[in-house]
């Protein structure tokens, strides 16, 4: 190919790394997806007859327990910020530890949420028994799915960092997605659990 004729490949301006920009755009679409779910929830709740808007058997959504889970998730986000700064300063070993901590905290959140689901399911709250339950499982489940994907991403980033082969773009991309998962959660929590 005549590419070789050009002594130096032309310089192209990439003010924002492509991976990060792509992920930001994806996150924007995801925000709209969750906005759609939350607007559906809000409208349905406002229009439903009061009696139809409850869980079967007098079960109430465990807001207090979930508050604890939420704190775990928020901490994970904070620890990831720490990892970011350590990485920027070149302290790879310390950064890897923070990254691992953030990943574990995130995984803990998903597991704690799973335990909560298990409790609700065992008390007969399913998607079919009430529309509130259906929305609960749909919205929280979708979030958990996103969290699980992001945790895999963070885990891979940690593994690569330990082997000293973490491309900055990969880390920033995974990081951006995890911040999105963390940031959208309070909105869901305050909307759905109360």
């Amino acid at each position: 190919m005549p590419m070789a004729l050009v002594g130096e490949p032309p310089k192209r301006r990439a003010a924002v790394p492509s991976g990060v920009l792509g992920m930001l755009l994806f996150v924007a679409a995801e925000v709209m997806f969750f906005a759609g779910l939350i607007s559906a929830f809000t409208i349905t709740r406002a229009g439903a007859p009061p009696l139809a808007w409850s869980l079967p058997g007098g079960v109430v959504l465990p807001a207090v327990e979930t508050a604890f889970n939420s704190i775990v998730l928020m901490m994970s986000g904070v620890v990831l910020v720490v990892a970011h700064w350590r990485l920027r300063r070149g302290e790879d070993a310390k950064a890897a530890r923070a990254l691992l901590a953030a990943t574990i905290l995130g995984a803990a959140f998903v597991l704690l949420q799973g335990r909560e689901w298990w409790g609700l399911l065992s008390r007969g709250v399913t998607m079919q028994t009430s529309t509130l339950g259906a929305f609960f499982y749909l919205i929280v489940g979708t979030h958990a799915l996103h969290a699980a994907c992001a945790i895999v991403g963070l885990g891979v980033a940690w593994w690569r960092l330990r082997r000293g082969a973490l491309p900055a773009g990969f880390f920033y991309t995974a990081e951006t997605f995890w911040y999105f998962v963390v940031a959208i959660w309070p909105v869901i929590y305050f909307r759905v659990y109360f």
Binding site: A4, L5, V6, S18, G36, A52, L138
Partner: protein, 573 residues
């Protein structure tokens, strides 16, 4: 980017197998053509369905050749398939994905998309979605028949729609298709941001790229709520939830809210690329600089923003709070301002030009002339007071076909005939092209002008036999006329297909720049090789520097250095 360029350069030497080269390629041009051909095949399905149900409307109860007698259930399925196929599997893939994939890297002067494998995944998902839709024809109960808008509870409960599998497959196909375009859109936007040729500022980017990027942004921002709604509807269909079931506290109108939040911006998602194609063709063949380039972009941005504030005009009589209708009437009429301004700009571009009536130019001019009809009839429907009458009549149908047909077919034909030499390295036959043009345009008007009249006369949509409505009997002549128009329109399409395939192999060989155009894709050889440019271009000026005073040539390609005014454009051919 340079890493990509290098890897392409290495791979360019050895021959690839057919599968690697055409089916699993990550080359943006191959993916663009894959989208194009898939879209064209789907257009045949969409065209066949419209043939069957228009025949039924003109000659109710009679055997339709190639189909047989049309039942009510079949009629609904045909209408639904026609609508969904033409919008989601023809207009979207051809206008955004095919032209976007083919043109963006070429017009920006780079070797490929930023995420080539994401791009391939996008096409594979799209193909899968098309196959799922086609598969829904062969499941028990037949394909979905609840209109492309799929309002629940009809679409949510097999007891109501009698298509237990068709409805689910339709929904999965649509959702998958959205995911495919989401991935594609991210790719387009990132590429346009990060891979422009050196020297190419944002305002040196050709209008069609701007439009495709804006359309992708609008699509990405609007599709989320619909995917959310589609998942809820899927759960209602298959897992017995009651999101849209009023008996369990669900809300049937909620779907319309989520659907039209996407549905209206979607119109602009396909309109903007069409306008972009028309801008490219019109400037080239009138040898004129685009009038007020920046204003075009600003009006397009304004349109994109306002498009998020108009969607409830589809729901004026849907049982929403009627006071909301007032609000949306205001925004709907407001959106006519930027669109009208854009039309004026396109018309003004012709002023002082030297217009050559090639086939692509005829299509581009026809786009303006026909789209104006679609635009002005929208006012009747955006004004809540008259929409009370026109809602869900054939007037609506004729209105949006006067917007969608110019978008999905007229602009596509303009783009295809214009970029055909770049895609395949050969010219299309002009005489056949013109015959096809006139046959299509005249037949198109013969179809839809009568339908405006039947709509004004009270014909409602999606009714398979009007003989039950005595007041509408007098309109049968118009219905027959529309069907005759359709048959003529269909009869002219084989000319295009013949011309397309024949020219691909036997057309006159085109040079790199047969139209003497300015934009970067014409700096690459035709067809461009893997990696596109033998020498990565550098940009020195805007894309529409035609007929610049004091130059011998009436065009001045973006990549030709300024110190070399007489340099011919064929230097890379």
């Amino acid at each position: 980017m340079s890493a990509h360029a290098a890897s392409h350069a290495e791979h360019g030497h050895h021959e690839q197998g057919f599968v690697r080269k055409y089916l699993l390629s990550t080359d943006h041009k191959v993916i663009g053509l894959q989208y194009l051909f898939t879209g064209m095949l789907m257009a045949l399905i969409g065209g066949f369905t419209v043939y069957v149900f228009r025949m039924q409307l003109a000659f109710p109860g009679e055997e339709v050749p190639l189909w047989g007698r049309v039942t009510a259930a079949q009629y609904n399925a045909l209408v639904t398939t026609h609508g969904s196929v033409m919008i989601f599997w023809v207009a979207m893939p051809v206008l955004i994905a095919a032209f976007g994939n083919f043109l963006i890297p070429l017009m920006l002067g780079c070797d490929d998309m930023v995420f080539p494998r994401l791009n391939r995944l996008s096409y594979q998902l799209f193909l899968l979605s098309a196959l799922i839709l086609i598969a829904s024809f062969f499941v028990p109960g037949g394909p979905f028949g609840g209109a492309w808008t799929a309002y629940p509870p009809l679409s949510a409960d097999p007891a109501y729609n009698a298509t237990p599998w068709g409805a689910t497959l339709w929904l999965i196909a649509v959702a998958l298709e959205f995911v495919a375009f989401l991935l594609g859109g991210i790719n387009f936007i990132t590429t346009a941001m990060n891979s422009r040729a050196p020297g190419m500022k944002m305002f040196d980017v050709p209008i069609v790229i701007w439009m495709i990027v804006l359309a992708s942004l609008v699509f990405m921002a609007s599709v989320g709520p619909l995917i959310a709604g589609a998942i809820m509807l899927l759960f209602d269909q298959r897992f017995g939830t009651g999101f849209f079931n009023p008996a369990t506290g669900g809300d049937p109108v909620l779907w319309q809210h989520l659907f039209w939040f996407f549905g209206h911006p979607e119109v602009y998602v396909v309109l903007l690329p069409a306008l972009g194609i028309v801008a490219e063709v019109m400037t080239t063949f009138s040898r004129k600089k685009l009038f007020a380039y920046r204003t075009v972009i600003f009006t397009a941005i304004a349109t994109s923003i306002i498009s998020f504030f108009v969607w409830a005009h589809h729901q004026f009589v849907a049982g929403i709070d009627p006071r909301m209708a007032g609000l949306f009437t205001v925004t709907t009429l407001i959106i006519s301002v930027p669109i009208a301004e854009m039309m004026f700009i396109y018309i003004a571009t012709l002023y002082g030009g030297s217009i050559r009536f090639t086939t692509p130019m005829l299509w581009a001019l026809a786009f303006i002339a026909e789209f104006l009809i679609g635009g002005v009839t929208g006012i009747y429907l955006g004004a809540a007071g008259s929409d009370v009458y026109f809602h869900d009549t054939y007037f609506v149908l004729a209105h949006f076909h006067y917007t969608f047909f110019p978008i999905a077919f007229i602009a596509t034909f303009a783009g295809l005939t214009y970029w055909f030499p770049k895609m395949f390295g050969r010219m299309m036959d002009e005489r056949l092209g013109k015959i096809h043009f006139w046959g299509t345009i005249i037949a198109f008007n013969v179809i839809f002008i009568p339908l405006f009249l039947t709509g004004a006369g009270g014909d409602h949509r999606r009714i398979f036999d009007y003989s039950l409505f005595p007041e509408l009997a007098g309109l049968q002549g118009l219905r027959v006329l529309a069907t005759i128009g359709l048959l003529v329109l269909i009869a002219f399409q084989p000319i295009f297909i013949y011309n397309f395939i024949n020219s691909m192999f036997r057309g006159k060989v085109a040079g790199a720049n047969p139209w003497r155009a300015n934009t970067l894709e014409w700096a690459a050889p035709s067809p461009p090789p893997h990696g596109n440019f033998p020498e990565m271009p550098v940009v020195y000026r805007g894309p529409y520097e035609y007929s610049v005073e004091g130059r011998d040539e009436d065009y001045w390609p973006q990549h030709v250095p300024p110190d070399d005014p007489k340099r011919p454009a064929e230097q890379v051919a």
